[in-house]
Amino acid sequence: MDFAPTREQEMLRDMVRAFAESELAPNALSFDEKGEFPFEALKKAAKLGLVGIINSKEYGGSDMGHLARMIMIEEISRVYPPLGFYFQTGQIGMYGLQNFGSDEQKKKYLPPLCQGDTVMAWALTEATGGSDASTLQTTAELVGDEYNVNGRKVFITAGETADVVGFVAKAGDGTNLLLVEKGTPGFTTPRREGRLGLGSIPVSELAFTNCRIPKENLVGQEGRGVRLALAGIGAVGRPGAAAVSLGIAQGAYEVTLRFAKERNLYGKPIVQLQAVQFALVNMNVEIEAARWLCYYTGWLLDQGKSPGEIGSDIARAKLYATDVANKVCLKAAEIMGGYGLIPEYQLVRRLRDALEMLPAAGAQDVQRVIIGGAIAR
């Protein structure tokens, strides 16, 4: 067993940390307050090779792998979780194109996505459900050389800003994974959802009304849409969500530790009080445990394991890291007292973001169902 990160992974962490501290930290609060997603920072991240980190160099990616991606998302989310969350979802589509798309689709969409010139969204969830993808109501009927699409998608991250959306629709007896470009007649984003956390990230409803999509926008095989979409969520979305949670937990822990060293009570910093120390120790241990579950998942994916083979490993990382993020943020609020709930102390936004991670990329109980299914077999 080799638990040591490679020199490249260490340098990546240093680079992403420096990027996040300079480009995100100074404005994190105002991004959330104004609801302005840091698209400029996203572009800069793309130029550094972070957006295409799991895409091949042939299509403009940097191809550093899944473990590197986990480290990158963790470091971004340590400072500003909404951008980490964008990577979590945006890269599902880029993974889908890379692995299931045609050569033409890869050539057309991947280079500008990797460069940060365009944005991609991934749409599976509908009002009737996200975790049970078999209840899809959006339809794509083949009429000549085009699909006629009708239906609605909800909770779509970056939906209204995306230049291209990968979405799943019922087609005959099966489901198809299709691409729709912004501005296609019949495709609209009627509503931006109000959210508790992940303040600046646009989450939208998508509507298809007799939307005509060319047949060549089919990704992968006909009839396998849900399967492909879930493979993308398994390999990229869920591990990404685990890494976002890990970053939230780490960021909240650091805020709390700094506070505990500065806040004096009974003549000494409260970090010297054993009750506070024990709480910080628990945070520290649990975050480290979550980190290794996350990294193990990335490592398994880099070894070529399919998301199907390691479904319970991925679920374990997402379940635990997200629980830890919520636990750490709540305990942090207790330690910091009234200050913890003042936005300027940078904990409140993390607490809200941690709550958003509970249903993201499969609710916590869905992860338990996956792990339960594996252990009960």
Partner: protein, 266 residues
Amino acid sequence: MSLNIIVCIKQVPHPEHFSRITLDPIRQTISREGIPAVINPPDLHALEEALRIREEFSGKVTAISMGPPQAKCALEEALAIGADDAVLLCDKSFAGADTLATAYSLACGIKKLGRFGLILCGNETIDSGTGQVGPQLAEFLDIPHVTSVIQIAFEQGSSLIVKQALEEGYMKVRVKLPAMLAVAKGINQPRLPTVWAIMEAGSKEMQIWGASDIGATQDMIGLEGSPTHVTGIFERDTTRRREILEGPPRQIAKKAVNRLHELITT
């Protein structure tokens, strides 16, 4: 114009962890154990300037450092940021070097590297801050040098016009190449390495040279070659003292002046 540029790099403790640095009262040294190390931040400005010059005129950027084996990490980072190759001067006999012995060792290494047009250093290091190595290096190589450089402009031929920051203003200096310039923070904004460059860094050449490889004279390097020695190392007393002076205003003012004078002179 193609220019070979050498950038001097020092690995220093991460400034965010300075509070964890402790003093070793027995060895009279500072203990950096367990503290993450980084490239001396002013050296990043030197590297950035070298890369910008290379991008404008072509040529090669070589990063050089003297230090223990772990200083390799700083050079790997320099390669990831954009240096073409790197040299680490690493030998037990270099240990304990003061600025003069360090400058001599670097000069020997640079002579071995061969022809160069420009040497760039950070103006000072954040862990010792003497600002001496660059100028001493220039003296060993018998080339002109300018410190606190905030702008470099190339003239036709082989000279530069550099802007040197002064306490109140700046001075423009014409310098003939080859030269050594110690750059100040304001000169540029250092870039971050890209993921592509990080992954390529491992395939770039890094040479590790000992004292005999660079033909260094033993009594000029390390502790033996250092004319200055640290004789004591102390933690600064940062305890605040308060004194209340009482009496009529004129008397208090006089007392205050006397007291301040006393504090300054003792």
